[in-house]
Protein backbone atom coordinates (compact mmCIF):
# COMPACT_ATOMS: atom_id res chain seq x y z
CA UNK A 1 0.00 0.00 0.00
CA UNK A 2 1.64 3.21 -1.15
CA UNK A 3 1.36 6.20 1.12
CA UNK A 4 0.77 9.47 -0.63
CA UNK A 5 3.51 11.76 0.48
CA UNK A 6 2.79 15.48 0.22
CA UNK A 7 5.47 16.02 -2.38
CA UNK A 8 4.42 13.06 -4.46
CA UNK A 9 7.33 10.77 -3.72
CA UNK A 10 7.01 7.05 -3.17
CA UNK A 11 8.03 5.58 0.15
CA UNK A 12 11.54 4.73 -0.90
CA UNK A 13 12.26 7.72 -3.05
CA UNK A 14 14.84 10.26 -1.98
CA UNK A 15 14.72 13.97 -2.62
CA UNK A 16 16.98 15.47 -5.30
CA UNK A 17 20.60 15.50 -4.16
CA UNK A 18 23.08 18.22 -4.97
CA UNK A 19 26.69 18.64 -3.91
CA UNK A 20 29.23 21.38 -4.58
CA UNK A 21 32.77 21.21 -3.31
CA UNK A 22 35.55 23.74 -2.81
CA UNK A 23 33.17 26.67 -2.39
CA UNK A 24 34.83 28.49 0.51
CA UNK A 25 37.99 30.49 -0.08
CA UNK A 26 39.75 30.06 3.22
CA UNK A 27 38.75 26.57 4.28
CA UNK A 28 41.05 23.75 3.31
CA UNK A 29 38.07 21.73 2.23
CA UNK A 30 34.42 22.60 1.92
CA UNK A 31 31.21 21.11 0.62
CA UNK A 32 27.59 22.11 0.38
CA UNK A 33 25.18 19.20 0.41
CA UNK A 34 21.49 19.52 -0.18
CA UNK A 35 18.70 16.96 -0.07
CA UNK A 36 15.63 18.71 -1.42
CA UNK A 37 15.37 21.88 0.65
CA UNK A 38 17.61 20.76 3.50
CA UNK A 39 21.00 22.37 2.91
CA UNK A 40 24.13 22.07 5.05
CA UNK A 41 27.48 23.70 4.45
CA UNK A 42 30.56 21.96 5.84
CA UNK A 43 34.07 23.39 6.13
CA UNK A 44 37.23 21.54 7.12
CA UNK A 45 40.35 23.18 8.49
CA UNK A 46 43.46 21.23 9.21
CA UNK A 47 45.26 19.21 10.22
CA UNK A 48 46.69 21.73 12.65
CA UNK A 49 49.41 20.80 15.12
CA UNK A 50 48.46 20.13 18.68
CA UNK A 51 45.56 18.39 20.33
CA UNK A 52 43.28 19.49 23.10
CA UNK A 53 43.90 18.49 26.68
CA UNK A 54 41.55 15.53 26.80
CA UNK A 55 42.52 14.06 23.49
CA UNK A 56 45.01 11.30 22.87
CA UNK A 57 48.15 12.82 21.33
CA UNK A 58 49.05 9.59 19.62
CA UNK A 59 46.15 9.96 17.26
CA UNK A 60 44.77 12.71 15.10
CA UNK A 61 41.73 14.25 16.70
CA UNK A 62 38.62 15.68 15.09
CA UNK A 63 36.74 18.66 16.43
CA UNK A 64 33.21 19.36 15.28
CA UNK A 65 31.39 22.67 15.56
CA UNK A 66 27.71 22.82 14.67
CA UNK A 67 26.19 26.17 13.88
CA UNK A 68 22.39 26.28 13.79
CA UNK A 69 20.58 28.50 11.38
CA UNK A 70 19.23 30.79 14.09
CA UNK A 71 19.48 30.98 17.82
CA UNK A 72 22.18 30.02 20.23
CA UNK A 73 24.03 26.78 20.57
CA UNK A 74 22.22 24.48 22.98
CA UNK A 75 21.98 20.84 23.98
CA UNK A 76 20.64 19.62 20.67
CA UNK A 77 23.61 21.13 18.86
CA UNK A 78 26.03 19.54 21.32
CA UNK A 79 24.41 16.19 20.70
CA UNK A 80 24.77 16.58 16.96
CA UNK A 81 28.40 17.52 17.41
CA UNK A 82 29.05 14.42 19.46
CA UNK A 83 27.34 12.09 16.98
CA UNK A 84 29.24 13.62 14.10
CA UNK A 85 32.52 13.46 15.92
CA UNK A 86 32.13 9.75 16.64
CA UNK A 87 31.05 9.01 13.08
CA UNK A 88 33.91 10.92 11.51
CA UNK A 89 36.43 9.41 13.90
CA UNK A 90 35.46 5.96 12.75
CA UNK A 91 35.99 6.73 9.09
CA UNK A 92 39.20 8.77 9.28
CA UNK A 93 42.59 7.12 9.50
CA UNK A 94 43.64 8.54 12.82
CA UNK A 95 47.14 7.10 12.95
CA UNK A 96 48.47 9.16 10.08
CA UNK A 97 48.65 12.76 11.27
CA UNK A 98 49.43 12.17 14.90
CA UNK A 99 49.03 14.95 17.41
CA UNK A 100 46.98 17.14 15.10
CA UNK A 101 43.46 18.53 15.20
CA UNK A 102 41.17 18.69 12.23
CA UNK A 103 38.24 21.04 12.67
CA UNK A 104 34.94 20.43 10.90
CA UNK A 105 32.42 23.24 11.01
CA UNK A 106 28.83 22.67 9.91
CA UNK A 107 26.50 25.52 9.14
CA UNK A 108 22.83 24.77 8.71
CA UNK A 109 21.59 26.79 5.78
CA UNK A 110 18.09 25.41 5.74
CA UNK A 111 16.36 22.66 7.69
CA UNK A 112 13.58 20.83 5.91
CA UNK A 113 13.80 17.45 7.63
CA UNK A 114 16.52 14.80 7.73
CA UNK A 115 19.06 17.33 8.96
CA UNK A 116 21.66 15.16 10.65
CA UNK A 117 22.11 12.76 7.71
CA UNK A 118 22.49 15.74 5.38
CA UNK A 119 25.17 17.12 7.70
CA UNK A 120 27.03 13.83 7.84
CA UNK A 121 27.06 13.60 4.06
CA UNK A 122 28.28 17.18 3.78
CA UNK A 123 31.03 16.62 6.36
CA UNK A 124 32.21 13.53 4.52
CA UNK A 125 32.40 15.33 1.19
CA UNK A 126 34.29 18.21 2.82
CA UNK A 127 36.82 15.84 4.39
CA UNK A 128 37.54 14.34 0.99
CA UNK A 129 37.82 17.81 -0.51
CA UNK A 130 40.43 18.70 2.10
CA UNK A 131 42.44 15.57 1.42
CA UNK A 132 42.12 14.16 4.93
CA UNK A 133 42.91 10.43 4.68
CA UNK A 134 39.74 8.39 5.22
CA UNK A 135 39.29 4.66 5.25
CA UNK A 136 36.04 4.77 3.30
CA UNK A 137 33.13 7.16 3.02
CA UNK A 138 30.04 7.44 5.16
CA UNK A 139 26.59 7.66 3.62
CA UNK A 140 23.74 8.73 5.89
CA UNK A 141 20.01 8.41 5.53
CA UNK A 142 16.94 8.98 7.66
CA UNK A 143 14.25 6.30 7.90
CA UNK A 144 10.97 7.19 9.51
CA UNK A 145 8.20 4.91 10.78
CA UNK A 146 4.89 6.38 9.77
CA UNK A 147 2.44 4.34 11.78
CA UNK A 148 0.99 1.00 10.62
CA UNK A 149 4.49 -0.33 10.08
CA UNK A 150 5.30 1.59 6.92
CA UNK A 151 8.76 3.06 6.48
CA UNK A 152 9.42 6.25 4.56
CA UNK A 153 12.86 7.46 3.60
CA UNK A 154 14.24 10.99 3.74
CA UNK A 155 11.24 12.71 5.37
CA UNK A 156 10.63 16.44 5.01
CA UNK A 157 10.02 18.58 8.07
CA UNK A 158 6.28 18.44 7.55
CA UNK A 159 6.34 14.66 7.45
CA UNK A 160 8.59 14.57 10.50
CA UNK A 161 6.17 16.67 12.51
CA UNK A 162 2.91 15.17 11.35
CA UNK A 163 3.29 11.59 10.45
CA UNK A 164 6.23 9.99 12.16
CA UNK A 165 6.04 7.97 15.31
CA UNK A 166 9.70 7.15 15.35
CA UNK A 167 12.71 7.65 13.15
CA UNK A 168 16.27 6.53 12.89
CA UNK A 169 19.34 8.06 11.32
CA UNK A 170 21.51 5.38 9.77
CA UNK A 171 25.04 5.77 8.48
CA UNK A 172 26.46 3.12 6.20
CA UNK A 173 29.70 2.48 4.33
CA UNK A 174 29.80 3.70 0.79
CA UNK A 175 29.74 1.05 -1.89
CA UNK A 176 33.22 0.38 -3.14
CA UNK A 177 34.73 -0.91 -6.35
CA UNK A 178 37.04 -3.70 -5.47
CA UNK A 179 39.72 -5.80 -7.07
CA UNK A 180 39.15 -8.55 -4.56
CA UNK A 181 37.19 -11.61 -5.51
CA UNK A 182 33.70 -11.71 -4.06
CA UNK A 183 33.64 -12.84 -0.50
CA UNK A 184 37.05 -11.85 0.77
CA UNK A 185 36.01 -8.76 2.69
CA UNK A 186 33.30 -10.62 4.52
CA UNK A 187 33.06 -10.76 8.26
CA UNK A 188 30.92 -13.57 9.66
CA UNK A 189 29.42 -14.29 6.29
CA UNK A 190 28.16 -10.77 5.63
CA UNK A 191 29.85 -8.30 3.33
CA UNK A 192 31.68 -5.51 5.17
CA UNK A 193 29.45 -3.02 3.50
CA UNK A 194 26.36 -4.20 5.27
CA UNK A 195 27.83 -2.91 8.50
CA UNK A 196 26.48 0.21 10.10
CA UNK A 197 28.72 3.00 11.24
CA UNK A 198 26.17 4.94 13.27
CA UNK A 199 22.55 4.52 14.22
CA UNK A 200 20.53 7.10 16.15
CA UNK A 201 16.91 6.35 16.92
CA UNK A 202 14.09 8.36 18.42
CA UNK A 203 10.78 6.95 19.52
CA UNK A 204 9.63 3.37 19.90
CA UNK A 205 10.34 0.86 17.13
CA UNK A 206 9.95 -2.90 17.25
CA UNK A 207 12.95 -5.02 16.41
CA UNK A 208 11.41 -6.26 13.15
CA UNK A 209 10.57 -2.76 12.06
CA UNK A 210 14.09 -1.63 12.86
CA UNK A 211 15.61 -4.43 10.79
CA UNK A 212 13.29 -3.50 7.96
CA UNK A 213 14.45 0.12 8.25
CA UNK A 214 18.04 -1.08 8.01
CA UNK A 215 17.29 -2.98 4.87
CA UNK A 216 15.49 -0.10 3.18
CA UNK A 217 18.14 2.34 4.32
CA UNK A 218 20.91 0.18 2.99
CA UNK A 219 19.29 -0.06 -0.42
CA UNK A 220 18.90 3.70 -0.60
CA UNK A 221 22.44 4.27 0.59
CA UNK A 222 23.70 2.59 -2.56
CA UNK A 223 22.07 5.33 -4.62
CA UNK A 224 23.52 8.10 -2.48
CA UNK A 225 26.88 6.36 -2.65
CA UNK A 226 26.80 6.37 -6.46
CA UNK A 227 25.92 10.02 -6.48
CA UNK A 228 28.78 10.78 -4.09
CA UNK A 229 31.20 8.85 -6.26
CA UNK A 230 30.15 10.76 -9.38
CA UNK A 231 30.40 14.08 -7.65
CA UNK A 232 33.85 13.33 -6.20
CA UNK A 233 35.13 12.19 -9.53
CA UNK A 234 34.12 15.24 -11.49
CA UNK A 235 37.19 17.31 -12.22
CA UNK A 236 35.53 20.63 -11.65
CA UNK A 237 35.17 20.83 -7.91
CA UNK A 238 33.27 24.07 -7.86
CA UNK A 239 30.62 22.97 -10.33
CA UNK A 240 27.63 21.53 -8.57
CA UNK A 241 26.65 18.01 -9.42
CA UNK A 242 23.03 17.12 -9.15
CA UNK A 243 20.91 14.01 -9.12
CA UNK A 244 17.20 13.64 -8.90
Amino acid sequence: MEIDRPDGRTRNQLRPLACSRNILNRAHGSARWSQGDTIVLAAVYGPKTGTRKNENPEKASIEVIWKPRTGQVGKAEKEYEMILKRTLQSICVLTINQNTTTTVILQVVNDDGSLLPCAINAACAALVDAGIPVRHLAVAICCAMAGSGSVILDPTKLEEQQKMEAFSYLVFHNSVLSMLPEGSLHVDGEPMEHGIITSVTHGVISVDDYLYCLERGHAASAKISDFLRRSLQSHAPSDPSKAA
Binding site: G131, V134, R135
Partner: protein, 209 residues
Protein backbone atom coordinates in the same frame (compact mmCIF):
# COMPACT_ATOMS: atom_id res chain seq x y z
CA UNK B 1 29.03 -2.92 -4.57
CA UNK B 2 30.26 -4.03 -7.98
CA UNK B 3 33.27 -6.27 -7.60
CA UNK B 4 35.38 -6.30 -10.72
CA UNK B 5 35.86 -9.92 -11.75
CA UNK B 6 39.30 -9.44 -13.28
CA UNK B 7 42.28 -9.32 -10.99
CA UNK B 8 44.54 -7.30 -13.25
CA UNK B 9 45.42 -3.90 -11.81
CA UNK B 10 44.88 -2.33 -15.21
CA UNK B 11 41.21 -1.95 -14.42
CA UNK B 12 41.87 0.92 -12.02
CA UNK B 13 45.01 2.62 -13.31
CA UNK B 14 44.39 6.14 -14.62
CA UNK B 15 40.85 5.95 -13.31
CA UNK B 16 39.34 8.20 -10.72
CA UNK B 17 39.06 6.38 -7.40
CA UNK B 18 37.20 7.18 -4.23
CA UNK B 19 38.23 6.40 -0.61
CA UNK B 20 37.42 2.82 0.21
CA UNK B 21 38.05 1.36 -3.23
CA UNK B 22 40.30 -1.67 -3.15
CA UNK B 23 42.70 -1.32 -6.03
CA UNK B 24 45.14 -4.19 -5.59
CA UNK B 25 44.72 -7.68 -4.33
CA UNK B 26 48.01 -8.78 -2.88
CA UNK B 27 47.07 -12.41 -2.51
CA UNK B 28 47.28 -12.75 -6.28
CA UNK B 29 50.64 -10.98 -6.49
CA UNK B 30 52.95 -13.07 -4.37
CA UNK B 31 56.73 -12.55 -4.56
CA UNK B 32 56.46 -9.04 -5.90
CA UNK B 33 57.66 -5.89 -4.21
CA UNK B 34 55.24 -3.03 -4.58
CA UNK B 35 55.92 0.57 -3.63
CA UNK B 36 52.94 2.56 -2.41
CA UNK B 37 52.90 6.30 -2.76
CA UNK B 38 50.50 8.86 -1.35
CA UNK B 39 46.83 8.15 -0.92
CA UNK B 40 47.08 4.36 -0.64
CA UNK B 41 47.04 2.16 2.41
CA UNK B 42 47.52 -1.50 3.09
CA UNK B 43 44.92 -3.56 4.92
CA UNK B 44 46.32 -7.10 5.19
CA UNK B 45 45.95 -8.39 1.65
CA UNK B 46 44.22 -5.46 0.06
CA UNK B 47 45.50 -2.07 -0.98
CA UNK B 48 42.77 0.50 -0.53
CA UNK B 49 42.42 4.16 -1.38
CA UNK B 50 42.51 6.92 1.24
CA UNK B 51 42.16 10.04 -0.88
CA UNK B 52 39.98 10.71 -3.90
CA UNK B 53 41.96 11.15 -7.09
CA UNK B 54 43.40 9.35 -10.07
CA UNK B 55 45.29 6.10 -9.55
CA UNK B 56 48.69 6.19 -11.21
CA UNK B 57 51.21 3.50 -11.92
CA UNK B 58 54.83 3.81 -12.88
CA UNK B 59 56.94 0.87 -13.94
CA UNK B 60 58.11 -1.34 -12.45
CA UNK B 61 56.12 -1.32 -9.26
CA UNK B 62 55.03 2.10 -8.02
CA UNK B 63 51.39 2.96 -7.35
CA UNK B 64 50.02 6.21 -6.05
CA UNK B 65 46.91 8.38 -6.07
CA UNK B 66 47.23 11.80 -7.62
CA UNK B 67 44.95 14.21 -5.86
CA UNK B 68 44.64 17.94 -5.80
CA UNK B 69 44.24 19.90 -2.58
CA UNK B 70 44.30 23.49 -1.48
CA UNK B 71 46.66 22.71 1.38
CA UNK B 72 50.27 22.01 0.58
CA UNK B 73 52.40 19.54 2.55
CA UNK B 74 56.10 20.47 2.23
CA UNK B 75 58.27 17.89 0.55
CA UNK B 76 62.05 17.93 0.03
CA UNK B 77 63.24 19.21 -3.37
CA UNK B 78 59.92 20.93 -4.15
CA UNK B 79 60.10 24.46 -5.51
CA UNK B 80 57.61 26.80 -3.92
CA UNK B 81 56.66 30.45 -3.76
CA UNK B 82 56.80 32.02 -0.33
CA UNK B 83 56.09 35.40 1.18
CA UNK B 84 58.54 36.76 3.75
CA UNK B 85 56.97 37.31 7.16
CA UNK B 86 59.97 37.90 9.38
CA UNK B 87 62.84 40.29 9.82
CA UNK B 88 65.87 39.20 7.78
CA UNK B 89 64.67 40.08 4.29
CA UNK B 90 62.10 42.66 3.31
CA UNK B 91 58.75 41.66 4.82
CA UNK B 92 56.10 41.04 2.19
CA UNK B 93 58.41 40.20 -0.69
CA UNK B 94 57.78 37.13 -2.80
CA UNK B 95 60.52 34.55 -3.10
CA UNK B 96 60.95 31.52 -5.32
CA UNK B 97 62.67 28.95 -3.12
CA UNK B 98 63.48 25.28 -2.81
CA UNK B 99 62.54 23.07 0.14
CA UNK B 100 65.64 21.61 1.77
CA UNK B 101 64.31 19.96 4.87
CA UNK B 102 60.73 19.16 5.71
CA UNK B 103 59.19 17.08 8.45
CA UNK B 104 55.86 16.96 10.21
CA UNK B 105 55.40 19.52 12.92
CA UNK B 106 58.46 21.62 12.07
CA UNK B 107 58.71 24.61 9.82
CA UNK B 108 60.38 23.51 6.59
CA UNK B 109 63.87 24.74 5.75
CA UNK B 110 64.08 26.67 2.49
CA UNK B 111 66.95 27.72 0.29
CA UNK B 112 67.39 30.33 -2.43
CA UNK B 113 69.97 28.29 -4.32
CA UNK B 114 69.74 24.97 -6.09
CA UNK B 115 71.44 21.80 -4.87
CA UNK B 116 74.85 22.73 -6.25
CA UNK B 117 74.83 26.21 -4.71
CA UNK B 118 74.05 28.31 -7.79
CA UNK B 119 71.33 30.93 -7.84
CA UNK B 120 69.51 29.42 -10.86
CA UNK B 121 66.51 31.81 -10.90
CA UNK B 122 65.65 31.31 -7.25
CA UNK B 123 65.24 34.34 -5.05
CA UNK B 124 63.23 37.54 -5.13
CA UNK B 125 60.45 38.00 -7.70
CA UNK B 126 59.78 41.63 -8.50
CA UNK B 127 56.60 43.19 -9.91
CA UNK B 128 54.08 40.87 -11.46
CA UNK B 129 51.03 39.31 -9.82
CA UNK B 130 50.69 36.24 -7.61
CA UNK B 131 47.56 34.16 -7.20
CA UNK B 132 46.71 30.91 -5.45
CA UNK B 133 45.35 27.73 -6.97
CA UNK B 134 45.31 24.09 -6.00
CA UNK B 135 48.31 21.79 -5.86
CA UNK B 136 46.95 19.77 -8.76
CA UNK B 137 46.93 22.75 -11.09
CA UNK B 138 50.53 23.62 -10.16
CA UNK B 139 51.62 20.10 -11.01
CA UNK B 140 49.83 20.29 -14.33
CA UNK B 141 51.51 23.61 -15.20
CA UNK B 142 54.89 22.11 -14.44
CA UNK B 143 54.35 18.89 -16.32
CA UNK B 144 56.27 18.09 -19.45
CA UNK B 145 55.35 18.24 -22.29
CA UNK B 146 54.13 21.76 -21.68
CA UNK B 147 50.46 21.90 -20.84
CA UNK B 148 48.19 23.29 -23.59
CA UNK B 149 47.28 26.45 -21.66
CA UNK B 150 50.85 27.68 -21.40
CA UNK B 151 51.66 26.60 -24.91
CA UNK B 152 48.69 28.41 -26.38
CA UNK B 153 49.34 31.56 -24.40
CA UNK B 154 53.04 31.47 -25.15
CA UNK B 155 52.48 31.49 -28.89
CA UNK B 156 50.75 34.85 -28.90
CA UNK B 157 51.81 36.62 -25.72
CA UNK B 158 55.12 37.21 -24.02
CA UNK B 159 55.13 36.78 -20.25
CA UNK B 160 57.08 35.03 -17.54
CA UNK B 161 55.70 32.80 -14.83
CA UNK B 162 56.97 31.07 -11.72
CA UNK B 163 54.97 28.11 -10.48
CA UNK B 164 55.22 26.96 -6.87
CA UNK B 165 54.12 23.45 -5.98
CA UNK B 166 52.36 24.95 -2.97
CA UNK B 167 49.64 26.22 -5.27
CA UNK B 168 50.96 29.73 -5.88
CA UNK B 169 51.63 31.07 -9.35
CA UNK B 170 53.40 34.36 -10.19
CA UNK B 171 52.89 36.04 -13.56
CA UNK B 172 54.73 39.01 -14.98
CA UNK B 173 54.33 40.67 -18.38
CA UNK B 174 54.76 43.98 -20.14
CA UNK B 175 51.25 45.28 -19.65
CA UNK B 176 48.68 44.67 -16.88
CA UNK B 177 46.12 43.42 -19.38
CA UNK B 178 48.45 40.61 -20.47
CA UNK B 179 49.03 39.67 -16.82
CA UNK B 180 45.30 39.49 -16.16
CA UNK B 181 44.68 37.51 -19.32
CA UNK B 182 47.33 34.94 -18.47
CA UNK B 183 46.19 34.66 -14.84
CA UNK B 184 42.55 34.15 -15.79
CA UNK B 185 43.42 31.61 -18.47
CA UNK B 186 45.43 29.58 -15.97
CA UNK B 187 42.73 29.73 -13.30
CA UNK B 188 40.07 28.60 -15.76
CA UNK B 189 42.08 25.64 -16.96
CA UNK B 190 41.98 23.61 -13.77
CA UNK B 191 39.26 21.21 -14.68
CA UNK B 192 39.57 21.17 -18.45
CA UNK B 193 40.97 18.42 -20.61
CA UNK B 194 43.77 19.16 -23.09
CA UNK B 195 41.55 19.90 -26.06
CA UNK B 196 39.20 22.04 -24.01
CA UNK B 197 42.15 24.03 -22.72
CA UNK B 198 43.29 24.80 -26.27
CA UNK B 199 39.80 25.91 -27.24
CA UNK B 200 39.51 28.09 -24.14
CA UNK B 201 42.83 29.79 -24.78
CA UNK B 202 41.99 30.43 -28.42
CA UNK B 203 38.67 32.00 -27.53
CA UNK B 204 40.26 34.25 -24.91
CA UNK B 205 42.98 35.39 -27.27
CA UNK B 206 40.50 36.07 -30.05
CA UNK B 207 38.45 38.32 -27.81
CA UNK B 208 41.30 40.45 -26.65
CA UNK B 209 43.67 40.69 -29.55
Amino acid sequence: MDGKPSNSPNSFIDQMVVPGDVVLDLSSMANQTIKLGGGLRQESDAISVMKAGKLKFSRPNKYWVESSQKRYVPCVEDTVLGIVVDSKAEVGSLLYVRVVKASAGMNPELSCTDASGKAAEFGLLKDGYMFETSTGLSRMLLSSPTCPVLEGLGKKLSFEIAVGLNGRVWVNAGSPSTVILVANAIMNSESLSNTKQKIMVEKLLQKFQ
